[in-house]
């Protein structure tokens, strides 16, 4: 999977694995389908979605992604940002 450079606009996948069966997800539900901006790559970590079920876990890149907070939460001031850690497999080019 190609790395996302800082500044890249990405879209969080509008995916709901929890509706298909037991799942453990670190991607907040309120961000699914939202657009954000990659701030930095934080490193690669074993995928917690597999670790949570004691399955072999591949290392995946984790990113800091910034979102326009008023657009996400319908509260806050213009310019407020939400900074969230998201794994690469939840991000797609916007």
């Amino acid at each position: 999977m190609a790395a996302f450079a800082p500044g890249t606009t990405v879209r969080v996948k509008d995916d709901w694995p929890e509706s298909r069966g037991p799942a453990h997800i670190r991607t907040p539900h309120y961000l699914r389908g939202m657009h954000g901006r990659v701030v930095r790559r934080l490193g690669a970590f074993a995928n917690p979605e597999d670790l949570a079920f004691a399955r072999p876990a591949e290392r995946r890149s984790l990113y800091h992604v910034a979102f326009d907070q008023p657009a996400v939460w319908q509260e806050g001031r213009a310019g407020d940002e939400l900074l969230v850690e998201l794994f690469e497999h939840w991000l797609e080019p916007a």
Binding site: A52, F53, E75
Partner: protein, 84 residues
């Protein structure tokens, strides 16, 4: 939409500390991970989740995971609780 967060430090009970120690030992022995702990907490039915304290949720999750993995049996757990 959001309520203010209580940021005051909480006093830990003897029970809380023992649950935390148990979780650390189980990790060191490779019997379960914190990711499994979190998943187990998320599985607690909502009404029960809200009735339990922070560390009660942990021990509820730890118990379910260890029983599912066969590390402990329901009979062993019952026997241990009887002895208390």
């Amino acid at each position: 939409m959001c309520a203010p967060i209580d940021t005051e430090p909480h006093v830990l009970s003897e029970f809380d500390k023992r649950v935390d120690a148990l979780r650390a030992v189980l990790s060191l022995k490779g019997l379960m991970t914190v990711d499994e702990l979190r998943r187990g907490i998320e599985e607690i039915p909502e009404d029960e989740y809200h009735r339990l304290s922070y560390y009660q949720r942990w021990i509820r999750s730890i118990t379910a995971i260890l029983m599912r993995k066969g590390v402990i049996t329901e009979a062993e757990l019952s026997a241990a609780l009887e002895r208390r």
